[in-house]
Each structure stands twice: as structure tokens, then as C-alpha cells.
Symmetry: C2
Subunit: 237 residues, 2 copies
DNA sequence: AAACAGTTTAACTATTTGATCAAACTCTAG
DNA sequence: CTAGAGTTTGATCAAATAGTTAAACTGTTT
């Protein structure tokens, strides 16, 4: 009843979780990971051009597949976008959550968070840019997902870290600071340099030459600067 | 000789500086600041949708003018975009430069930079988002403008501040840190919270209620955290 | 008022875009 | 081999898009 009744998959609509749910792989006409190729290409193009600026044909070219396949697998442009976004959002939220549940002191908690955050961002730059794009334009999609995530606070690594800051202030591990601004500074310091990387490269030519070194240097610097900045007054190094 | 020879202004092409060069205002048919209205609307739409995603008709609607006027004043979409970008870039670079030339100690230099940066960003959010958008996609326009600006180092406030950090380390005003990473952290902390403001609002509902308080709080927090983080070992508060 | 330069408008073109569809293809199951 | 479900393709459509143009309009100058 719902539109033409051919045998179409359309995985993105029903289960916006994994890019190509391996569980229901009904390999027949040698798909060869067509769906995953679409997904990856879509992530790149959406990240660069945004939802409105991205062209379906460009995604198809990037994935080296026939443009019609985009609609075969994802029905429409908006559904493809939402599938990509939802996957990234879930991955982003889920990845860090676990590592923070261990009961470490503040210094180790911060180190874990910063290292994990930077590792994720620099290995998923496209997804990070896509998310930021959504943040800047303040579209309804992000708001929908974000408010849902904020509800169950203990699954948002950012909010967990914020709670950790509050606790550390109370226990005297760090000096009294505004937890929300501090959290904002942490996220900014980890995220921004990689999102704006094309620009950073112009100022840091060495970041292009030895990227891994730049990433590790970034981790060290952020943790070091924050720990120094948050150390209680009077406590020596 | 250059295309049709009607009497067209096209200010954006020749002099990409001020949005509506008041010098050559040839007021006849009651323009009523049409060009400035276009400019402002274009900034908003380009910031939200990017160069590729923005639609000329949307800009025209936003400016409440006839779509054809966009081409009358700016010839093409790409020239309109470049005019908007160039204006923002020049304004961005020029504004902070002067304030840093005064010979202040490091603490005051940092305070001046952070306050000036945040003031500019939060009063020109659209322009900041547009610039960041250009940063993320790494288009040729930004690279062209940026490399030109880096050449004359003493006109880039960011690089001037970085030089100030190096000097402060040598003079012992602050402890030895990586100047480039430190600079990145400063810029990140000032820029990101306002660029991603729609998202921040979900976590900081009070930022929406009393925006001015949030801005001032942000300035204080960033300066405070950085000064603490950079203070030489052993020096009391 | 007549001429004129600058501005605004609506109608138009050519191209691009997202989306659809029937036909062809591929592999497996019977 | 044949039937059939799932997949891929090229052709095609309607809507949207950037850009053009001639005519109408505005105010100023003569």
C-alpha cells in the first residue's frame, strides 16, 4: 500500500543503527557492499557540503555506483542523510560512555575522556564535521536526537564527564570552577582543531607532515594545560 | 566588450571590502540600501547552508527583494559568496590587530585577545559560521585569503598572539608550553561555543535566557583557566 | 516636460536536481 | 535448466535552480 510495491530493502529507514546491518545480508546479486560504499561516500559528501549542498549524483560518483541505487537503498536524500547522521550520533555517544564508568581519579578520568575524544574525532573527521554542520545550522534532526540523549544522562559521555568535574570540585581534587564552561572548553579544545584541520594545516605545516605526532601532541597538551589550570591553589606540581 | 553593456554596479567584484561602498552611492532610483540588505541576507543564508546549499531565491526572500537584483548587484552566486567572505575575512583580521599592538604584559595581552575575540564572534555569529564552514570544507577561497594574510604576519591577530606567547615563555611570565597548541586551545575555546551555539543551548538553557551573562561568563572562565594553566610552577595565586 | 541614468520587475531559458520505472542482469533454489 | 528474488542499469520525469533580458519604473537634470 505504501507506494510502489517492489522488493526494496531500505534499511536506513527502519533501523538507523549500523551502516549495513550484516544480520540481514541477503546476498544474491553480488551486492559487494554497495550499501556500505554508499554510506561512506554519503558521509564524506554530506560532511563537506552539508545536507542541502550535497548532490545525490556526487555521492553516487564518489561511491562509484549508479545514482538510482541511492534511492533503492535509502529511498530519499533526507532518509540517507538521517541514516548517516543517526549512525554517527549513536557511535559517537556509545563509544566513550563505557570507558568513563570505571572508577578512576579525576586526572585519569580527564585523560581517558580527552584521549578517547580526540581518538574518535581524528579517525572520524567526516562524521565530526557533519555533526558540527548540524550544530551550526541548528536543524531539527540534531535537536531531536540530542534531547532524547540528554534525557538518559548516564549514556552521554559529555554529561558524565561534567558530573565528574562537579564531584572533583566537591572532593577538592580540583579548584572550584564553572563545570559547564569547563566542559565546553574541554570539548572545544578536542573538537575544533580537527574540524578546522584544513585551516590548521596552513598554520601548522608539520601537522600535515606527521599527523600522528600532531594528534599525540594535541592529547598531551590539552590534558596538561587543563590539569594545570584546574589544580587547587597551593598544591605544587 | 565584457558581456552585455548595460549600466550595472557590481561592486562585489572590483572592491570586495565594504558591503556597500558608501563612497560611490549614486542615489537615484531610491535604492534604500538594497545592496546592504542583500549582503546581510546572503551572510545569514550562506552561514546556515554553505556556498553549495544556499539558494539565491532564499537569499532574495530573506532580503525581501526581487531575485534578479542579486545578479544586478553581484553578477553571480560565486561572486556574491566571495564578496561576503572577503568582507568578513578583512573585518575579522583587522578588528583585533590594533588592540594587540599596545605593549601590555602577558596577562593583559591574553585578556585583551580573548575579550576581543569573543566580542567579535558573538556579535558576528553568522560570519563566524561561514568562515568555519569554509575551514571545514577546505575550499580554495579560504586558502587563498589565508596564505596571503599569513605572509604579512603582523596583521594577523592570531599569529601576533602566538608571538606574544613565545615572548612570555622566554621572559618567564608563563611556563614553557607548546605555543601553537596553546594558541589553538585559545581560539578553540573562544570560537567553538558560539559557532555550535544551537547545541550549547540544549545543555546550557540559561545561555538562551541571559545571553549577555553567558558571554561575560565565558570570557572570565577562559581567561581564568588559561592563566592558571600557564602560570609558572611554584608561583602562588 | 523631455531626456536620461540608475533601479526594479516579471517572464523567460537552459541546466541541474531528486526521484521513478521498466527492463536487464545475477545469483541461488528447486 | 528454469523460476524467481534480489540487484543494477539507462532512460525519463517534474520540479527547482542559476542566470538572462526587455520592459517598466524612479528620481534627477536639462
Amino acid at each position: 500500500m505504501e507506494s510502489t510495491d517492489n522488493t526494496a530493502p531500505v534499511v536506513g529507514a527502519g533501523d538507523p543503527s549500523t551502516p549495513a546491518g550484516e544480520g540481514a545480508s541477503s546476498e544474491s546479486g553480488e551486492s559487494a557492499g554497495t550499501e556500505q560504499r554508499i554510506f561512506k561516500a554519503a558521509t564524506e559528501v554530506f560532511a563537506r557540503k552539508g545536507q542541502a549542498g550535497a548532490r545525490m549524483r556526487e555521492i553516487a560518483e564518489h561511491a562509484e555506483i549508479n545514482p538510482a541505487l541511492l534511492h533503492y537503498y535509502f529511498r530519499s536524500k533526507s532518509q540517507l542523510y538521517e541514516a548517516v547522521f543517526a549512525h554517527g550520533f549513536k557511535q559517537f555517544m556509545g563509544g566513550l560512555g563505557q570507558s568513563l564508568k570505571a572508577d578512576l581519579d579525576f586526572e585519569e578520568s580527564l585523560r581517558t575522556f580527552v584521549h578517547g575524544y580526540i581518538d574518535y574525532i581524528h579517525t572520524h573527521q567526516d562524521m565530526a564535521r557533519l555533526m558540527l554542520n548540524e550544530c551550526t545550522c541548528g536543524g531539527p534532526i540534531l535537536e531531536r536526537y540530542l534531547t532524547a540523549a540528554v534525557a538518559k544522562r548516564d549514556e552521554m559521555p559529555g554529561l558524565m564527564m561534567e558530573d565528574r568535574i562537579v564531584a572533583a570540585i566537591e572532593s577538592g581534587e580540583i579548584r572550584p570552577v564553572d563545570p559547564q564552561h569547563t566542559m565546553l572548553t574541554i570539548v572545544s579544545s578536542c573538537l575544533f582543531p580537527f574540524v578546522a584541520l584544513p585551516t590548521v594545516r596552513i598554520f601548522h605545516p608539520e601537522a600535515a607532515d606527521d599527523f600522528e605526532a600532531f594528534v599525540e601532541g594535541r592529547k598531551k597538551h590539552v590534558v596538561d594545560l587543563l590539569l594545570s589550570g584546574l589544580r587547587p591553589a597551593g598544591s605544587a606540581e
